[in-house]
C-alpha cells in the first residue's frame, strides 16, 4: 500500500446518484403504461428497478471499500471463469435464448449475462496485463498481438450468442485502454485499415448487410421492418422540442415505442423533458467522463490508472452508442443506457464499476 486512503470523489458520487434518480423516475414514467397493461401494476418495473438500485448501491459502497489491487490478484481467475461461462452459455439447455440471442444463464430473475461480466473481467485483466508490460506495448509482436488476441477471442465467443452490442462495447473499451497504455499510433492506423478491409469483405460477401446497416440513415424506407424502432424513437424525440411535453406526458410510450423503459428510455426522456432534459443527462455523463479520466490521471499506479480508464471508457462508449442509436446516428445494436435503462444486471454492474472507480479515487493524488 503505497499511500493513505482519503475520501472518495464526491462529485463522481453525486453525479452517479443524480443519474440514478433520473433513471428511476424515467423508468417509472416510461414503463407505467406497459406495466399497467401487462401486469395490472403501473409500478411493476419501477419497483423492481428500485430494488436493483438498492442492491447496486449497497454493492457500490461495499466495493468502494475493497482495495482495487484485489482485482489485480483475482483478474486471471475471473477472466477464466468468464471464458468458461461464455462457452457454457452457448450450450442449449444451459444457456437461455431471448430475442434470438443465447445470452443468459440461470433461472428467471436470477439469470445473468456472462458477456456483461466478461466486459468487467476483461477490463480488470487487461489493466493488469498492460500495466505489467507497459514497456512492451509499443512492440507489435510482444504487446499488441497478445492483448488483441485475448480481446478478440472473447469477442468471437460473444458474437456466437450473438450479442453485437456488448461485444462492440468490450472491444471499444479495450482499444481505448490499449491506446492509453501507449500503443503506437501507426499500429492503430494499420488496425484501422484491417478493420475497413474486413468490413468491405463482409459487405461484398453479403450485399444485403449494407442495407441493414445504412437503413438508419433513412428509416422511412422500411418503416415496419428495420426502420421501425428508429422511427418510433424519432417520433418521440421530435415532438419534445425545447422543454418537452412534460414529465409523464409521453405519447410514444403508449405501445408505439417497443419496451420504452429499456434501450429507448432516452427517447422517452427527450420527449417528456425536451432538449433541456436530454442535454442535462448528456452533461451528467460528460461530468462522469471528466471525473473518471481525472481519477485515472491521479491514480497511484498504472494498474489503477488503466482500470479507471477501462471503467469510464466502458460507460462512455455505452452512452455514446445508446444515445447515438436513439437519435438515429447509428444502426440499432441493442445496448442499455447506463444508470437509466431498466434492467437488474446492467444497473448493479454499473454501480459496482463506479464502486471500483470510487475506490481508486480514494488513493488518487492530483
Amino acid at each position: 500500500m503505497p499511500t493513505k486512503k482519503t475520501t472518495p470523489d464526491m462529485i463522481l458520487m453525486i453525479v452517479t446518484f443524480t443519474l440514478l434518480a433520473v433513471g428511476l423516475i424515467m423508468v417509472y414514467s416510461a414503463s407505467a403504461v406497459w406495466a399497467e397493461y401487462k401486469f395490472d401494476d403501473s409500478f411493476f418495473f419501477a419497483k423492481r428497478q428500485m430494488l436493483f438500485a438498492g442492491i447496486g448501491v449497497v454493492a457500490m459502497f461495499f466495493i468502494m471499500n475493497v482495495d482495487y489491487w484485489t482485482w489485480k490478484t483475482w483478474a486471471k481467475a475471473l477472466l477464466l471463469i468468464c471464458f468458461v461461462l461464455l462457452l457454457l452459455v452457448l450450450i442449449p439447455g444451459i444457456g437461455n435464448e431471448r430475442n434470438g440471442s443465447r445470452s443468459w444463464i440461470g433461472v428467471g430473475a436470477f439469470s445473468i449475462q456472462p458477456s456483461e461480466f466478461m466486459k468487467l473481467a476483461m477490463i480488470a485483466f487487461l489493466a493488469k496485463f498492460l500495466s505489467e508490460r507497459q514497456k512492451m506495448i509499443t512492440s507489435f509482436k510482444n504487446g499488441l498481438v497478445p492483448s488483441l488476441s485475448l480481446v478478440f477471442s472473447a469477442f468471437a465467443l460473444i458474437m456466437l450468442q450473438p450479442d453485437l452490442g456488448t461485444g462492440t462495447v468490450m472491444v471499444g473499451t479495450c482499444l481505448v485502454m490499449i491506446f492509453i497504455s501507449g500503443a503506437r499510433i501507426s499500429h492503430f492506423i494499420g488496425l484501422g485499415f484491417i478493420g475497413v478491409a474486413g468490413f468491405v469483405g463482409l459487405v461484398l460477401s453479403a450485399p444485403y448487410r449494407i442495407k441493414r446497416i445504412t437503413s438508419f440513415l433513412d428509416p422511412w424506407q422500411d418503416p415496419l421492418g428495420t426502420g421501425f424502432q428508429i422511427i418510433q424513437s424519432l417520433l418521440a424525440i421530435g415532438p419534445g422540442g425545447l422543454f418537452g411535453l412534460g414529465l409523464g406526458q409521453s405519447r410514444q410510450k403508449f405501445f408505439y415505442l417497443p419496451e420504452p423503459q429499456t434501450d429507448f428510455i432516452f427517447a422517452i426522456l427527450a420527449e417528456e423533458l425536451g432538449f433541456i432534459g436530454g442535454s442535462f443527462v448528456l452533461l451528467l455523463f460528460a461530468l462522469l467522463l471528466w471525473r473518471g479520466i481525472r481519477i485515472a490521471l491521479g491514480a497511484p499506479d498504472l494498474y489503477g490508472s488503466f482500470l479507471a480508464v477501462g471503467i469510464i471508457a466502458m460507460i462512455a462508449i455505452q452512452v455514446m452508442i445508446n444515445i447515438g442509436v436513439v437519435t438515429g446516428l447509428m444502426p440499432v445494436t441493442g445496448i442499455t443506457l447506463p444508470f437509466l435503462s431498466y434492467g437488474g444486471s446492467s444497473l448493479t454492474l454499473m454501480l459496482m464499476a463506479i464502486g471500483v472507480l470510487l475506490n481508486i479515487s480514494r488513493y488518487a493524488r492530483y
Partner: protein, 638 residues
C-alpha cells in the same frame, strides 16, 4: 504517487477531449432532431397517433323544375363487426353467415380481421327485416349501422337521364355521374388520438370535421311533361312493339330540356337486371342515324335565308325522280307530286324539290348551314355519352352526296342535334346549347350555388327567315304529311322523317326509324317535341303515321299543362274523309230568335231562359266543335 508516464498522461487528456467532443456531437444531433426535424416529426407522429372515423355526407337530391323529387336517399341498415369485441368468432360467423347468405368461412375471416371495425360486404344496405333478424341474434361485437341508400321514387321514369349511383353512393351513370362531384359532398370525420392498441388517449382534443352534404340538383325537366311523354311512349311501345323509341321535349327559346325518355328503359334500383347496352346508352343523345326528311328543315332554312326560293310564287315540277350526276334519285311518292309550289314541296316532303334547293345553294353554302345548325359536333348537353354524328367530308362531296344530304340521307346525326337545330330554325334563328341541370342548391341554406342559364351559341338565320319557317312547317301539319300531329288551337308546326337504317354500309329493308319533330304554338313557339320510333311493327313505317300522332298527343297535353293559351288564327286543317269535320262556333250573342233561324247552323241547340235575345252562349265563339255537337244558349230580354 501519480501516474508519471508522459505518454499515458497525454493520451488520457486526448481521450477526455475526444469523449467530450463526441458527447457534444450527440447533443447537436439531439437538437437537430428536436428543432430542425421537430415539425416534420410532430406531423408524422400526429398521423401515427390519430384515428379517423369517417362520417358519410348525404348525397344531394335530384328534383324537377318544380321541386318534385326524382332521386333521394333512404336509410339502409349495414352490418359492422368489431373483431376485438367478438367473444366466440366461430359461432358468430356461422349465425351471421346464415342470415346474410354468405359462406361462413368468409364471415369468419372478416370478423377475425385485425382491424378496429370491419364492414361486411354482404351486410351492406340490407332490408330492415334482415337487420331485425340480426339484432335478434344478439351477437356481441356485431352492430347495425345506418347507411344511406339511393332511392328513385319513380322507378324507371327518366332513368337514362338520372342514371344511378352505386353502393358507395358514387355516381355511375347519367346525371348521377355527370354531377357526381357536386352531388356527393365531402366526407367528414372525427379524428381522435389513440394509443398503438387503438384505445383513445383522453388528454388530447378530438378534431371534428363535419361532412359537407352534397348539393341538391334542380333540373330543367318538368315532371308534368315527362309524365305525358312516358305515358305516350308506353302506349306506343304496346302498339308497335318497336326496337326502341326516343323522345325529347325542349324549350326552343332557352335550350332547357323539359322531358327526355327512351325505350327500352330500366329501373335504376335494379339496373343490373338489364344488359349494360341498355343503361349505358342514353339514346336521345347517344344514338346517331340518318335523320331522313326532318333534315329538310335545314335545307329549307338555308335556302330561305339565302333568298334562293320563294315558297308561294315559285313552282316546281316533280316527275317522281331527279337525275343527279348520272344517278336517279326517286321521290318517296311513286309517280311524283307533279307541279306544285315550293310550299307544297315542303308540305309533301318532296325529295326532288329539296334536291333542287340543295343545288341552288351549292355544296359550300349547304354544308356551311348544316354546320352552323350544329351538326357534326356535340351539342354540349350536360349528359354522359353524347354522340357527334358524321357529315360528308366537304372534299368528297359530289353532286350525288350533295343531293342526298339536301333531303337527309347520307348524314348521321343525333336526336338532340336535330332538336337543337330545329329549335334554332323556328325560335328566331338562335342555336342554343341544350341543358338538363338548372340549379345546384345548398340543402342547408336553400341558397342557389350554381345556376345554368341559356347559352346562345350563335345566330344561324334571321328572324324573318325563321318566321317563314314557322309558317311553312305549320302548313306541313295543317295541310301536309304531318297532319296527324295537328292539335286544335295550338298551331302545331313540324316535319316528318323516315330514316333508313344502314348496317354494314347497306340499307335494311322494311326497317326504318320513323320520326316527327314538332313545335307549337307556331306564332311564338314554347315547346319542341321530337319522337323517333325504331322499326315499328304492324304499321306503315312512315313518320307521318307512327310518330306524328304521338307528338300531337304530347304537344296538346303538355301545352295545356304548361298553361299555354290556345290560339285562334291557326291554319285550317285540310280535311281527309276520315277526319270528323270541325266547325267554328259563331258569335250568336245579341241575335234574336228570328235572326237565329236565318243563321245556318250545323249544331244542336240547347236553349234555356225566358226572352227573345241570346245573352250568353257556351262554348265561346271561335271554339271548334265536331259537326252536330250541342251548344247551349241563354235567352233574356236584353
Amino acid at each position: 504517487m501519480r501516474v508519471s508516464n508522459v505518454t499515458v498522461r497525454k493520451r488520457l487528456t486526448i481521450a477526455l477531449i475526444a469523449g467530450i467532443f463526441i458527447f457534444f456531437i450527440i447533443d447537436l444531433r439531439l437538437g437537430y432532431v428536436q428543432f430542425f426535424l421537430g415539425n416534420m416529426l410532430t406531423d408524422r407522429a400526429k398521423d401515427s397517433w390519430s384515428r379517423n372515423i369517417p362520417f358519410e355526407p348525404e348525397r344531394g337530391e335530384i328534383m324537377d323544375r318544380n321541386g318534385v323529387l326524382l332521386a333521394t336517399n333512404v336509410s339502409a341498415p349495414t352490418v359492422y363487426a368489431v373483431p376485438r369485441q367478438i367473444e366466440n368468432p366461430a359461432e358468430t360467423a356461422e349465425k351471421l353467415a346464415e342470415v346474410l347468405n354468405m359462406p361462413k368461412e368468409k364471415a369468419y375471416k372478416l370478423i377475425t380481421k385485425t382491424a378496429s371495425s370491419v364492414r361486411i360486404p354482404e351486410g351492406r344496405k340490407i332490408s330492415h327485416e334482415k337487420a331485425k333478424e340480426i339484432r335478434a341474434l344478439g351477437l356481441k361485437g356485431i352492430y347495425i349501422g345506418e347507411d344511406s341508400k339511393r332511392h328513385y321514387p319513380f322507378g324507371s321514369y327518366l332513368s337514362h337521364v338520372l342514371g344511378f349511383a352505386g353502393a358507395d353512393n358514387q355516381g355511375l351513370m347519367g346525371l348521377e355521374l355527370y354531377y357526381d362531384k357536386e352531388l356527393k359532398g365531402k366526407k367528414g370525420s372525427v379524428k381522435f388520438y389513440a394509443d398503438a392498441k387503438g384505445k383513445r388517449m383522453n388528454d388530447m382534443a378530438d378534431d371534428y370535421e363535419p361532412p359537407i352534404e352534397g348539393l341538391d340538383l334542380k333540373l330543367t325537366i318538368d315532371t308534368k311533361i315527362q309524365t305525358i311523354v312516358e305515358r305516350e311512349l308506353d302506349i306506343a311501345q304496346a302498339k308497335y312493339n318497336p326496337d326502341g323509341i326516343i323522345a325529347i321535349a325542349m324549350n326552343p327559346n332557352t335550350g332547357e330540356i323539359l322531358a327526355m325518355a327512351s325505350r327500352p328503359d330500366f329501373d335504376p334500383a335494379n339496373y343490373k337486371n338489364v344488359a349494360p347496352e341498355i343503361y349505358n346508352r342514353n339514346l336521345p343523345v347517344w344514338s346517331t342515324y340518318e335523320p331522313g326528311s326532318t333534315f329538310k328543315i335545314i335545307t329549307l332554312a338555308a335556302a330561305l335565308e339565302e333568298g334562293k326560293v320563294d315558297l308561294e310564287k315559285e313552282h316546281f315540277h316533280d316527275p317522281g325522280f331527279v337525275k343527279v350526276g348520272g344517278a336517279r334519285l326517286r321521290c318517296w311518292k311513286r309517280g311524283g307530286h307533279g307541279s306544285q309550289t315550293f310550299l307544297e314541296v315542303v308540305q309533301n316532303s318532296c325529295n326532288p324539290g329539296f334536291v333542287e334547293l340543295g343545288q341552288r345553294l351549292g355544296k359550300e353554302k349547304l354544308f356551311s348551314y348544316i354546320k352552323k345548325f350544329g351538326f357534326g359536333e356535340k351539342t354540349g348537353i350536360d349528359l354522359q355519352g353524347e354522340g357527334t354524328g358524321i357529315l360528308f367530308d366537304l372534299d368528297k362531296v359530289g353532286p350525288v352526296e350533295q343531293a342526298t344530304t339536301a333531303f337527309g340521307q347520307g348524314v348521321s346525326v343525333t336526336p338532340i342535334q336535330q332538336v337543337a337545330a330545329i329549335s334554332a330554325a323556328i325560335n328566331g334563328g338562335t342555336l342554343y346549347t341544350p341543358y338538363v341541370a338548372k340549379e345546384l342548391i345548398d340543402p342547408r341554406t336553400g341558397k342557389v350555388v350554381m345556376k345554368n342559364s341559356p347559352v346562345a351559341k350563335r345566330k344561324v338565320i334571321s328572324e324573318e327567315t325563321s318566321k317563314k319557317m314557322r309558317y311553312a312547317l305549320e302548313s306541313v301539319v295543317a295541310q301536309g304529311t304531318g297532319g296527324k300531329a295537328f292539335v286544335d288551337g295550338y298551331r302545331v308546326g313540324g316535319k316528318t322523317g323516315t330514316a333508313q337504317k344502314a348496317v354494314n354500309g347497306r340499307y335494311l329493308e322494311n326497317n326504318h326509324i320513323v320520326s316527327f319533330i314538332g313545335f307549337a304554338p307556331a306564332d311564338a313557339p314554347e315547346l319542341v317535341v321530337y319522337v323517333g320510333v325504331d322499326n315499328p311493327k304492324g304499321t306503315v313505317q312512315f313518320g307521318g303515321v307512327v310518330s306524328a300522332p304521338i307528338v300531337g298527343s304530347i304537344m296538346g297535353d303538355s301545352l295545356r299543362a304548361m298553361g299555354v293559351k290556345p290560339r285562334k288564327d291557326q291554319l285550317d286543317k285540310k280535311m281527309t274523309y276520315t277526319d270528323p269535320r270541325m266547325i267554328e262556333v259563331p258569335d250568336l250573342v245579341g241575335l234574336s230568335k228570328k235572326e237565329l233561324r236565318e243563321v245556318f247552323l250545323n249544331f244542336k241547340i240547347d236553349a234555356s231562359g225566358e226572352g227573345d235575345i241570346v245573352v250568353k252562349q257556351t262554348p265561346q265563339p271561335g271554339v271548334k266543335l265536331k259537326e252536330g255537337s250541342t251548344i247551349r244558349l241563354y235567352f233574356g230580354n236584353k
